[in-house]
Structure formats: structure tokens, C-alpha cells
């Protein structure tokens, strides 16, 4: 290997520059997928679904990024970043689809950086502050189990792009859920302190679970996963109340975050996320 080679080529043009976008992978998950909305599919409904799931992913990725340089061990540093990157990738694909079907033609950054908190449609559980590792693992367990069940259904979506995004996401989310479940068991069945912290985390997460079941019928799958994990960990099931509108189905989805009703924690999260972009609205990055 020439010592100089890697460095000397820097100033030359690279045709694949634009491909540096997707983190560590280069495969375009939407390659060859027809982007036209099929006849009979409600474009508004597809857009609302993409926006809500994109917002869940972006806000979750932002919370996971806060762990960077603060994780309890290097392996966890790598794993939490991996999960954050997967979710960020999902958000980008979902926003991309949203811009194609909502009639505005907006790009991913318009959704992420130039909407105000009241326009975000993420569930409130995603926006709660990071808390300790037990809280983050508990939240990840609930959100990844739920999102995996949703994405499994969406692989059969009549919108081919949403179906392709979901198919890619299913593989990622299965890993997220596995990671969270393994840690939940380790912490629940670890030391007295880790057990106590997991109980507290379940109590904190509980009140936000009902909001997840306001659209698509995935409640049973999620409950089954939580039951299995909490049993293995020697922990109680989290308690939650069903959302008042849980009988309704489809999008737009009623209830709290999905209606744009957020906790006080979303605005500061977005202020940090959007600050640089909004300070330079004419800039390209």
C-alpha cells in the first residue's frame, strides 16, 4: 500500500460523493420501486402515516444521539449509535415519501428543520428526556416492539414505497427490539439497584403506552413482547390506560402527540436540532 495514496486522491473529484448520505450503507432501499401512488390509494393518508412515523424516528434518533460519549460501555456506545442511525435513515426515507405524496414536493430537511413543535406528529414517549440507561432501554423496548409490529403490517401497504421502507425497517427494528429486550432482562435480573431502576423506568414509561395504540391493531403483539420480557426479567408489566380514542383506526391518528399535543420537552429538543439550520436558512450543507 502506498503511504500517500489515500491522502493524495482527496482533492480529486469523486462521482460517488452524493452517495455518502446514508451513514454506513450504500444500498438504496428504494432502488427500482415505482414512486407513483397507485390508483385507489389515499395519498393524504400515506403522507400522514409517513409524517407521523418519520417524526417518531427523528425524535427517537435525536434522543439516542444524546447518549453519544455518555454510554456505560463502548459496546453500548456503538449499539446505541447504530440504532440511532437506523432510525435517522428511516426518518429520511419517510420524509422523502411524504414530500412526494403530500403535494408540496418538500425535501427531508424541510420536514425536520422548518416545522414548529405543534406540527410534529410523533408520540410523546419518543420525546421524553433521556433519563438513565434503564429508562432509555425501557423506552426502546416499548417503541421498537410497537414499531416493529406496525412495520410488519406496513410491508403489505398498498403504497409500494411505504411497503419497501417498512420491509427495510423490519430487519433493523428486530435488532433494536432484541437489543432492548436483552438489556431489560440483564438489568431486571442483575443487581438490586438495576432492578429498582428498571421498575422506576417502567412506571415512568407506562402512562405513555396507551397513546401508541390509537391506530393499527398491534396492541396484542406489543403486550405479548412486554409480558415475555418482564417475566424473564422478574419485573411487573407496566400499567397503562387505553387512549380514549383507541377504537378508531387508520390515519390521521387521534390522540396526544399524533394530534400535535406534546409535552414541554419537544420544543427544546427541536430548538437544538433546528438551531443551526434556521440560523442559516439560505445555506446549503
Amino acid at each position: 500500500m502506498s503511504d500517500d495514496h489515500v491522502y493524495m486522491t482527496l482533492a480529486e473529484g469523486h462521482e460517488d460523493d452524493a452517495r455518502w448520505a446514508y451513514g454506513t450503507g450504500f444500498e438504496d432501499p428504494l432502488h427500482g420501486v415505482d414512486i407513483a401512488v397507485p390508483e385507489g390509494v389515499d395519498a393524504g393518508e400515506v403522507a400522514a402515516c409517513c409524517l407521523a412515523l418519520g417524526d417518531d424516528a427523528l425524535v427517537s434518533a435525536q434522543r439516542l444521539a444524546e447518549w453519544c460519549t455518555r454510554a456505560p460501555e463502548l459496546e453500548e456506545e456503538v449499539a446505541l449509535a447504530n440504532i440511532g442511525l437506523d432510525l435517522l435513515g428511516q426518518a429520511r426515507l419517510l420524509y422523502g415519501r411524504c414530500g412526494q405524496v403530500d403535494g408540496t414536493g418538500r425535501g427531508e430537511d424541510a420536514y425536520a428543520y422548518f416545522r414548529d413543535p405543534g406540527d410534529f406528529r410523533n408520540v410523546r414517549l419518543a420525546e421524553l428526556p433521556g433519563g438513565d440507561f434503564a429508562f432509555s432501554i425501557t423506552r426502546l423496548l416499548v417503541l421498537s416492539s410497537w414499531r416493529l409490529a406496525l412495520f410488519e403490517q406496513l410491508t403489505a401497504s398498498p403504497d409500494p414505497v411505504l411497503a419497501a421502507i417498512a420491509a427495510k425497517g423490519v430487519k433493523e427494528l428486530a435488532y433494536h427490539r432484541q437489543y432492548a429486550a436483552e438489556w431489560a432482562v440483564r438489568l431486571g435480573d442483575g443487581t438490586e439497584e438495576s432492578h429498582r431502576r428498571m421498575r422506576t423506568a417502567l412506571e415512568q414509561v407506562g402512562p405513555y403506552i396507551g397513546e401508541l395504540f390509537t391506530a393499527y391493531d398491534v396492541r396484542d403483539e406489543v403486550v405479548a413482547v412486554l409480558r415475555q420480557v418482564t417475566e424473564a426479567a422478574g419485573l411487573p408489566m407496566p400499567a397503562w390506560k387505553p387512549s380514549p380514542s383507541s377504537s378508531s383506526r387508520g390515519y390521521p391518528m387521534p390522540g396526544a402527540g399524533r394530534d400535535g399535543d406534546h409535552t414541554e420537552h419537544l420544543a427544546p429538543l427541536l430548538a437544538e436540532l433546528q438551531g443551526v439550520a434556521r440560523a442559516h436558512p439560505e445555506a446549503t450543507w
Binding site: Y7, L10, Q62, L85, T284, W285
Partner: protein, 335 residues
Amino acid sequence: MTKTDSASSAAGSTDPRLDGHDEQDLEQHFDATIARDQRIEPRDWMPDGYRKTLIRQIAQHAHSEIIGMQPEGEWITRAPSLRRKAILFAKVQDEAGHGLYLYSAAETLGADRADLTQRLIEGRQKYSSIFNYPTLSFADVGVIGWFVDGAAICNQVPLCRSSYGPYARAMVRICKEESFHQRQGYELLMTMMRGTDAQREMVQDAVDRWWWPSLMMFGPPDDASPNSAQSMAWKIKRHSNDELRRRFVDMTVPQAEKLGVTLPDPELRWNAERGHHDFGTPDWSELQRVIKGDGPCNAQRMERRRSAHEEGAWVREAASAYAAKQSRRAREGAA
């Protein structure tokens, strides 16, 4: 600490593997292996000094990867586009991965990761001084990629031929990823230079702040570098500090021209006679101050690493307790 101690003594004269060979024979064999440019592997006999030098160098390198996540990691949550956010997040994750391989390479020499981490947070082992400077704008992310990863590549590409096998192999993978990071940093700067006046100002400001600290990454001048000669003889290190620094300057100048930024050195000019650039002397007293702990962010970087480690203690304890319970259950199940 125990692993390091036992490994060091195992490598010394009490090594039961000596089996009638005296240490002189082993040393001759070792020297001949180095002279033939062949690799030393973990199970090979090696002089204590070689082992200690390598552990020190690899640990310092691993610590640098981990502390080096901080200055850029600060910008992941603020990156101004989702594409840049993904690139930066992945880069910082790669650095954690590099730290992991390097700690593993150090463990092949008998060191222990937990012990090395303890030495770092107690200030008994160093990391690269460059990470004690602050990141003041998003342009710093690009300039760190261009200069800091660039300088790291200049330092590390020759280490891919280091005499110690596991270190050399770790460096191959790390250099590939770092050259990718460097291109990403440079590409960010190119994009910013084509953007608004404010963006161009940000880039020039970041270049002005990072240039001299980057030149210091190659270490003190050769006549003031106490450990270099032995490391060169052992082929742990392949080029002198000044040689690598000169190479970095020669490579960077045309890139700066193409980018349209000015490197902040009035003495910088091409010397046709020597076939290299002439350049000014870094402020070596600044390097000494930063190494001694008096840089702009030393305290902050160490505090973050220490608090992450301490706040994570209960998680690591829980994982060990769980693993112990599992193996006890497996034994009881088998009985």
C-alpha cells in the same frame, strides 16, 4: 492491573516457555524477525520494553479515539441537515469502533481494557492533545475531518506496516475508515465554500483555529522526541515526527488552494530547491501546556469521560451480576 503484571513478568526471564533457550537467543530471534520485516505476533517472545512501548502507544491511540468522539459528537444533535447528521453520527460511531479494536490489540499484549480506562480517567495515560480544542461552529466538523483525520492518516498509514501484527492489522481497517472520514470532511467544506458568505467565513475561521494544533499532532520536533529512536529501531514507528509533518503540509497546501481557504502561516511557501514547502514553527510551548493539562478543554474532556464511566458503573455491575447468575444456573441445571 493484574493481567498486565502477569503478562509482563511472563515475557521476562521467568517465562516457563524459555525451555532451555536463554533470553539472548530469544532476543536474537526477535531482532532477526524485526530485521527481516516480519511481524511479531502475540505469542512470540518480545523484550519487555517493546511490550511496554506498544501498550503505551496503542492505549494512547485508543484513548484518543474515545476522547476524540467528544468535540465532534457535540454537533450530532445540531447538524444542519439530515444527511450531515447521518454522516457525522456514523463517523463518531466509527471512532468508538476504532477504540474497541485498539483496546483489543492492547489486550493481546496482556493489558486490560478496564485498567487502561482507569489510567485514562486518572490522568496517568494521555490522549492526543488535538482533542483539547473546542468545536465552535459546524465548519469545525469539516476541518477536523480534513486536518485532524488527515494528520491521523499520515501518522497511521505507515503503522499499517508496524512490526506488531495485531496493531498493524487494526491500523489497516482504521486507516480505510479515516480516509473516508477525511473525504467527507473535505466535501462538507467544499459545499460550505460554495454556499453563503457566512459559511465561507465559518470555514476560514475554523481553518485558522485548527491549522497549528493539527501540525502539532505529529509530536515535538525530532531533536526533542525522546522515545522516537527506539520505536524506529523496533519498527513500531516508521517515519520521524518532522518527516510526517512535512509530508502533511505538502499534501494539504494544494487542497487548501482548491478549497479557496488561506492557511494561517505567512512563512508558508514552495521551496523548489528542496522540493517541499517551507513553513513556520508551531508554538511548541503551547503543545507543552496542552499536554500538561492546560489546554482549552482538557478538564471538560476528562470530566465527560469520567462521569460517563462512573454513571455507567451500575450498568456494568448489573451485566456482570446477571452473567454470574446465568452461569451458576447453567451449572446447577447441568448438575
